[in-house]
Symmetry: C2
Subunit: 155 residues, 2 copies
DNA sequence: GGCACGTTACTCGGATAACAACTGTCCGAGTCAAACCGG
DNA sequence: CCGGTTTGACTCGGACAGTTGTTATCCGAGTAACGTGCC
């Protein structure tokens, strides 16, 4: 999995703590963890395309969350970066085997594919069950100073 | 995920149907689905290193399952090919952030990392719950002719 | 006929290239804010 | 003093290289079977 997923998750989490209405530049978000600004910007663009954050150009521009953190799941962020395709891509090799038909969708009928898909769904279900708000609250409980610290650091 | 996982799974499944004691060459297994022989051989070597199949050199050599299919899980095969590391590799970027410590293992304490790990565990649990024998039986139920067809094709 | 031995063909195993994806970087288009000027 | 205009700097967005991992291939080491010759 791409490393950008980790960056995107932490950046979105940090964005939950900034004043509503304030935008944060890619440079500020990158400086927070000493990440390469331009590349992080690239990941943020993916989040924009997915509708998770909105972007504003010009002075006082930057990124902000597009909707309430309670409605942004980890799956949303992961999908935005990785592009929704499953980890196991069934190539339908059964089609090339003995008795393979061209008019059969082996992604649906191949039992190996089904088993892998079940695992994939379990993974996605777990990710979809966690929202940014959940993690935000958990962090605030564990490290009460984090919201203000983050807010100041990104201001 | 590597494409070799699909090949390995189907090859292992096919191996469950050959006469016990008979070895199948990489060429036979590759010909079954018209796969590149040399590259498939490479994947099979990974299965050997993982102790899932055993290999024999020379005439009448080849590969055979190392143990009963009931004790080979899909996770075993996937891990053998992909190498047990988690899909989400936590780079511990919190260490570079404000208040980051060098003596803290953020793979354990970072809540984002924990959430991703939970999803990874759900995925692994699902894979570990399915054995080769399960799929073998399901296929035999769905396509009764498969065992003999496969046995003849690999002989 | 049975056994030992050399030969031979066959198989895996690791070392070696071609390709693609991820990672990292740069510069241009668009935009908003501020400064400036005129009324 | 106030409004409109120009300027300017700032920000995102997409186009351009470097590096790592996956895909594909080849050839050599080892081995078991086979044929041959000898007892």
């Amino acid at each position: 999995m791409s490393e950008g997923v980790e960056w995107a998750l932490h950046c979105c989490l940090n964005l939950t703590w900034v004043e509503s209405g304030e935008a944060v530049t890619a440079a500020k978000l990158a400086g927070f963890y000493q990440l390469p600004t331009a590349y992080l910007n690239r990941q943020l663009q993916a989040l924009v395309r997915a509708g998770i954050v909105t972007s504003t150009s010009g002075p006082r521009g930057g990124f902000r969350l597009a909707r309430d953190p309670r409605h942004i799941t980890l799956l949303d962020v992961v999908t935005a970066i990785e592009g929704g395709q499953e980890a196991f891509r069934c190539q339908e090799i059964l089609r090339k085997g003995p008795g393979g038909r061209d008019d059969v969708d082996y992604r649906k009928h191949c039992l190996v594919s089904q088993a892998m898909r079940r695992a994939d769904l379990a993974w996605r279900r777990e990710l979809a069950a966690q929202t940014l708000a959940d993690i935000k609250l958990a962090v605030e409980d564990k490290r009460p100073g984090t919201p203000e610290l983050t807010r100041n650091r990104l201001a």
